[in-house]
Amino acid sequence: MLTLTRELHDAILAHARRDHPDEACGIIAGPAGSDRPERFVPMLNAARSPTFYEFDSGDLLRLYRDLDDRDEEPVVIYHSHTATEAYPSRTDISYAGEPGAHYVLVSTAECGNDEGPFSFRSFRIVDGEVTEEEVRIVDTYGD
């Protein structure tokens, strides 16, 4: 199960709508080992494409160094599908390189840049195997 604050959920959704029809991407970092997404880090889609996303390789190195310095890890890795459903594609599965992360997919196929229906789903992708998980939205994580 992915537990996520309303604020972070809305930040991902807003990024996806803003970048539509291109795919939006980014991560939510959290303390290593905590499984708690805390810090929203939107990334540039270096592919600037409606059917592909990719972190720029220089951005990727800086991101991981920053995570290391802060003793964080990518708890959530998110991206949008802008014409198809919010389910990992074969490409998504073949690239999935963080077995500990929650892979969040947002579909903006219906809402485009505007308010309106969207789909927000979360998956584990481990050794090529996709498992959907429940997304629980909370006001705060509490103690």
């Binding site: 494409s49 592909f52 990719e54």
Partner: protein, 93 residues
């Protein structure tokens, strides 16, 4: 010649959980072969059968993506740091 190699989470099964290991080699290809001698299986995760780097991994020499250098033929010097990261990519297609 000692090169520090930073290992991403997904490949730490090959390094007994170590985040960094030390290797040797005059080129990246030699370094990867050297790593594989102590961490069997890691090479196949990094390079294709033809020796080219897999597109699912990014390899950096110090701050530079080796794709912008000479790929697996990139020369290494004592004290260099090599960082391996899984590419973060995907898409609807």
């Amino acid at each position: 010649m000692a090169i520090e190699v930073r290992i991403p989470t997904i490949l730490r099964t090959y390094t007994d959980g170590a985040k960094a290991v030390t290797g040797a080699g005059a080129t990246l290809a030699e370094l990867i072969t050297d790593l594989d001698s102590r961490h069997p299986g890691i090479r196949a995760r990094l390079v294709e059968e033809n020796g080219e780097l897999r597109r699912f991994v990014n390899v950096y020499l110090n701050d530079e993506d080796v794709r912008f250098l000479k790929g697996s033929a990139t020369e290494l010097t004592d004290g260099d740091q090599v960082t391996i990261l899984p590419a973060v990519a995907g898409g609807a297609r």
